[in-house]
Point group: C2
Chain length 365, copies 2
């Protein structure tokens, strides 16, 4: 019995991926061993890792001058690893603050360089992304950093900022990578923890332009030096092999997705848009529920909402659980509810949730 899992991450994975993983657990395709037991230097695992990388490159149309790295430590580690690799002798980095994750990135980066918060949504209570006309960007910054989707606050960029010339754009895409098409060429570096749209926690994806490699800080741990990792095809240290295998199965699943004439990431984007419209529509349909983010900046992935009285929260969650809808409790820092509707959440899950939302509002309005 499988439930609809709205967890913000680690999060739902496609059922067919898990079924395949279960089938192959003891014997991967006649090898006589589990993928977990394979040497990372073996021909078998080499083929798994190479296919995962090639499929990801294809899904996101990653240009050839970008490296795809499989790393460890998640976005929180990248908050330090990015400045340790990307300052390249410069001393300043620019950050846009759009919520909880931006704030964490800024705090960590400030330990390594002169960080300017070029714009902040704090005044609005992180209910909107500050318009780019107000960003105080510096042409001498080593990079401009954004969080493409704020998992906790539920804000998402629907556009790509243009930094000053020679300032590469760095984006934390942990919670929206592969959920919509992107033009990788507009970014200098993209990073993402895997545990939302890609696979198990413990794998971090980094997509980085060749030009940004080779100037790491003297104290950057070698295992997190992008150039060393790139030169060794992500096997400078033993990579999280099983997580890469699951990610590869997810990439294959994405490639198989269809919506009308669309396929792959474009198909998921269309489906995600439909799911988000359906859910926000249900929340907007009654004054019972409250959302905070302005319409233009609403996240398609993470939908925080609030009941009229927090005293109803426990009853809402209990009723949801009875309907096999789980993982809906909001983040402790903001309270309320949150529905995360990543790639693996089917339309049927969102439909079940919206039906419950309407029912609960009728009963308690």
């Amino acid at each position: 019995m499988r439930v609809h899992n709205f967890s913000a991450g680690p999060a739902a994975l496609p059922g067919e991926v898990l079924e395949q993983a279960a089938r192959e657990m003891l014997d991967w395709r006649g090898s006589g061993v589990s993928v977990m037991e394979m040497s990372h230097r073996s021909a078998e695992f080499g083929s798994i890792a190479q296919k995962a990388e090639a499929d990801l490159r294809s899904l996101l149309s990653v240009p050839s001058e970008y490296r795809i790295l499989f790393m460890q430590g998640g976005a929180l580690a990248e908050n330090a690893i990015v400045p340790l690799n990307l300052l390249r002798g410069r001393v300043q980095a620019d950050y846009v603050n759009t919520g909880s994750w931006s704030t964490k990135s800024i705090r960590e980066a400030a330990r390594y360089c002169d960080v300017r918060e070029v714009a902040s949504g704090a005044d609005s209570g992180f209910t909107r992304i500050p318009p780019i006309e107000q960003w105080q960007m510096r042409p001498e910054a080593a990079y401009l950093h954004i969080c493409a989707n704020e998992t906790i606050d539920g804000l998402e960029y629907s556009w790509v900022p243009e930094p000053p010339r020679d300032v590469p754009l760095v984006a934390d895409m942990s919670s929206n990578i592969l959920s919509r098409r992107i033009d990788v060429a507009r970014f200098g570096l993209i990073y993402a923890g895997a545990q939302k749209n890609i696979g198990p926690a413990g794998l971090t994806i980094v997509i980085v332009h060749d030009d940004l490699l080779g100037a790491a800080h003297a104290l950057c741990p070698s295992a997190f030096n992008y150039q060393l990792v790139a030169q060794n095809q992500s096997m400078y240290n033993t990579p999280p092999t099983y997580a890469i295998y699951i990610a590869g199965l997810v990439f294959e699943w994405i490639s198989r997705q269809r919506e009308g004439a669309l396929s792959g990431v474009a198909a998921l984007e269309a489906r995600n848009l439909r799911k988000a419209h359906l859910l926000y529509g249900a929340l907007d349909a009654t004054p019972f529920y409250r959302t905070r983010v302005v319409a233009a900046d609403r996240s398609r992935m993470n939908v925080p909402f609030f009941l009229p009285d927090a005293a109803l929260d426990a009853r809402f969650l209990e009723g949801a659980r009875e309907r096999q809808l789980v993982g809906l409790k909001g983040h402790k820092t903001v309270g309320g509810m949150r529905a995360s509707i990543y790639n693996a959440m089917p339309l049927a899950g969102v439909e079940a949730l919206t039906a419950y939302l309407a029912e609960f509002a009728r009963l308690h309005a």
Copy 2:
């Protein structure tokens, strides 16, 4: 069909652990979700992580004044993370060089402090551990570092060195943790990549004395600051949840092991000793095979050996493969063969290998 997997790491896991993981893949004990899909903040995953930690604490009799941390990055990352955390204002660290892994640790640490190689087995071609009487240890060193088992060279300490007063002992136990009883109280810090005796690659175990926490280098990434990780019960950043779950299943498997009146790690130690005696005995029984390490320092985990002529290597590996014995090729830096006989390798696997060794020697001597 499962083979006998002598891979040095990632390495064989107990079949019953993989069977349980396959059974629970889509629905962990009625939760309706895979462990891979659980929020690390959920009650379900909390119970998994707490039990894994408690079981490991019990298996190794870890005293209460030590923290057990679940981290990421493997031993190669720890080569930097250890000095970033343990210098505590001191500027020197002492290292014993016993082979390939020590050499890597030394090279990385030298980027952070004044490293002294207090003794080296290089002169002997890494065939013996230098006797402690010759170690030039410094009483002002921040710590003394050893590699408890050299995975590539096949050397293992059968004793615990005593550093100068106030110098904590740090040990890389990646390839022999949980294979023999240890007195944790004699160490300041123990670290181990999981992918040999514990579970999937991507999980790193750190066992550290409370007194060593709280003085990390200013540039230590927060995600790798032992004190922050300890204060957050290894959930400062999202931990590698599925790898922790598998490690927990392995800990339960270890607890169930019996050899006569012995149980747990003591039972595995007895079994590992028997396996090692059997294998070294077969290699010593004929002049056909050559081993390099002196008897006293031979590893119980990794057994490198050489055929009289490297031209026979391919034929040896082919015949092994026909007998379902895989992963026997030696590390590229030393050549020859290597049989890794970690906890999960059953006695039957070593018996099958020794039978093949005798047969191959008869045919080709």
